[in-house]
């Protein structure tokens, strides 16, 4: 089994392996088999298209957590220039599960804040799997307040399983840190665009997810609890995660239908990791487009619109 492919992608992996094999054979011998390879590549593409045309929510949530999926720092490198990372909450520490800093988006200075996961084991541990502690949310808030002072737009990249459930996090006020961000972001005097790039996990995601626009990458997810968590509470069995993913409607296509997000950014065939530069340019275009709209809205008006937007969420019988 090829670990770069998820289980439902294994037929693609097998085809790819065959193509690689042929390439090796081709370079060994003088026989021209490029035609055969081309054929197989067309087939592989068609197979990918067919598998990806009918992904289940559970498969999409696996894609959102794909080990090769680009993380915040990957996008920062591909989309922005002059990035300067800024560290620390000035009170307790520097949470490496959230990164932030100033950078330029097509010559416009912006403040970027995002969850950061690790690629290898060491890095994963250092980044705490993208699960922030209170000091992470407080660092984020500090940077957003700085953006407000210097009239910079705020761009957030969301990719977290959730806020970290640990003893220290509770001692230092995990609840308060999240709540404070929701409170402060509702009237922060800078345009805010939030983009879910992978996992949008619950309160930990929302803590940097309150803004004027909420965008999602096609194969990212956004939910109140992880499918496994929901399954183990409501179905009393974590094996029912795929049912929970289905029931909660955590995918970008479902959430735009429900009008809970504003825009879905297309990913390349097979997911963001198959073509980072394509994904990055799609994101860049979307960010620039949205910022262009937001920057012409007078700030008091923008805050009014944001407040209306935040407080209109809800479906009930009156």
């Amino acid at each position: 089994m090829n670990l770069n492919f998820l289980d439902f992608e294994q037929p693609i992996a097998e085809l790819q392996a065959k193509i690689e094999e042929l390439r090796l054979v081709g370079s060994d011998n003088e026989i021209n088999i490029s035609e055969e390879i081309e054929k197989l590549e067309v087939k592989s593409k068609a197979l990918t298209a067919s598998i990806f045309s009918s992904l289940t929510p559970w498969q999409i949530s696996q894609l959102a957590r794909h080990p090769q999926r680009p993380y915040t720092l990957d996008y920062i490198q591909n989309i922005f220039t002059d990035f300067e990372e800024l560290h620390g909450d000035r009170t307790y520490g520097d949470d490496k599960a959230i990164v932030g800093g100033i950078a330029k988006l097509d010559n416009t200075p912006v403040m970027i804040i995002g969850h950061q996961k690790g690629r290898d084991t060491n890095e994963k541990v250092r980044r705490n799997f993208g699960m922030s502690r209170p000091e992470g949310y407080r660092k984020a808030l500090r940077l957003m307040k700085m953006a407000e002072r210097f009239r910079m737009p705020v761009l957030t990249f969301i990719d977290t399983p959730g806020a970290y459930p640990g003893v220290g996090a509770e001692e230092r006020g995990q609840s308060e840190a999240i709540a404070r961000n929701l409170f402060e972001l509702s009237y922060l005097r800078s345009p805010i665009i939030c983009l879910v790039i992978g996992e949008g996990g619950s309160g930990g995601a929302l803590a940097i997810g309150v803004g004027d626009r909420v965008l999602m990458l096609e194969y990212s997810t956004y939910s109140v609890i992880s499918p496994e968590g929901c399954a183990s509470i409501l179905w009393k069995s974590p094996d029912k995660a795929s049912d929970a993913a289905e029931a909660m409607g955590i995918t970008s296509s479902r959430l735009i239908e429900l009008e809970l997000i504003d825009q879905v950014i297309k990913e390349p065939l097979g997911g963001a990791h198959r073509d980072i530069s394509f994904t990055s340019s799609e994101i860049k275009n979307a960010l620039i487009e949205n910022l262009d709209t937001l920057k012409y809205i007078e700030i008091d008006n923008l805050l009014k619109l944001r407040y209306e937007r935040l407080t209109q969420y809800g479906v009930f019988k009156a």
Binding site: A179, F183, S223, V224, G249, Y313
Partner: protein, 317 residues
């Protein structure tokens, strides 16, 4: 009460005062304290506001009773009583959300997990909200969020403070992302209230966890907790599974939160009314109005549903 002299003659166990408090008392004359297992006479317990007379354990109480013992008995107006939940996702786990709602509504006689009443506290006008934990674990979905939002709006329109008693397991999973959005909705509303200079007193009761703790419950100008209430973001079981160690005694209890600076004070249920009165009167720089003479008080006030606004003028500052 016209027959109050007569009541004084009766032995304590036959007294009938505080009839409105009886609403949530289940059948049976005797009950056991869940903490010290002392056998208690139920009427004594009710009179003691469901605090165990032997060990001071604060037994969980419902939203109606909570507001009933907190607010002055006269002039109450319920806010948003007409709001009802909708299963917009057609959510179904081992049970359908619709069935869970019906069951909860039948068990609690509430439409959802928050009750909001505009009334008076020692004659100071306030809006008070309380979570009904018995309604799907006091979970916050669209109706809870909207009621809380309306409570804040009434406060802002009339320049009166807000008090909220939380008791909740967190966001309601059956409303999925919509329930997560109630966290930002209620927090945004509280930011507006704060900008208008109106006090918000958050009273955290057992238990206040997850999305409710990480939004409206922790945002009080003053955060008060009842003794030994479980308060936190992640549930203790989840934390134990994550860190793979047993949690220390008293972890995530009110006393732990006070020690770590998350709350201002721990207040005994029997003193909350007067404590909050005092705090609000100081924060708003108003003297506490003269208590109304008991003779003038109707002890069994009807809870008027909103829409009937004949009493509105009495609330204006």
């Amino acid at each position: 009460m016209s027959n109050s002299w007569f009541n004084k003659l009766l032995p304590s166990r036959i007294k009938t005062e505080g009839t409105s408090n009886k609403r949530n008392v289940p059948e049976g004359l005797w009950t056991k304290c869940s903490a010290c297992t002392a056998v208690l006479y139920r009427a004594d317990l009710v009179r003691n506001l469901d605090v165990c007379p032997k060990c001071s354990h604060h037994i969980r109480i419902g939203a109606r009773r909570r507001l009933d013992i907190f607010l002055d008995p006269e002039i109450r107006e319920e806010i948003g009583a007409e709001l009802e939940p909708i299963d917009s996702l057609k959510f179904k786990d081992s049970k359908r959300y619709r069935d869970r709602l019906n069951q909860a509504q039948k068990n609690t006689s509430e439409k959802d997990a928050l009750v909001v009443i505009r009334g008076r506290l020692n004659n100071l006008p306030v809006v008070a909200a309380a979570f009904e934990f018995a309604f799907m674990g006091g979970s916050m979905g669209s109706v809870v969020g909207e009621k809380f939002f309306r409570a804040v709006n009434i406060c802002m329109e009339n320049n009166i403070p807000l008090v909220c008693f939380s008791a909740s397991g967190g966001a309601r999973m059956q409303e999925a992302l919509l329930s997560l959005m109630q966290m930002s909705k209620t927090s945004a509303a509280l930011a507006k209230l704060s900008q208008q200079g109106l006090p918000y007193i958050s009273i955290l009761t057992d238990p206040t966890m997850g999305g409710v703790s990480a939004s409206l419950a922790m945002l009080g100008d003053i955060n008060i907790a009842e003794p030994k209430a479980l308060i936190g973001f992640a549930g203790p079981r989840v934390i134990e599974q994550t860190v793979r160690e047993t949690l220390p005694e008293g972890f995530q209890r009110s006393e732990f939160l006070l020690e770590h600076g998350a709350i201002d004070m721990i207040v005994d249920r029997r003193e909350i009314r007067d404590k909050v009165t005092k705090i609000i009167s100081m924060l708003t720089n108003r003297s506490i109005p003269e208590p109304v003479k008991t003779e003038e008080v109707n002890t069994t006030p009807p809870i008027v549903e909103s829409g009937d606004s004949s009493d509105h003028n009495t609330f204006k500052n």
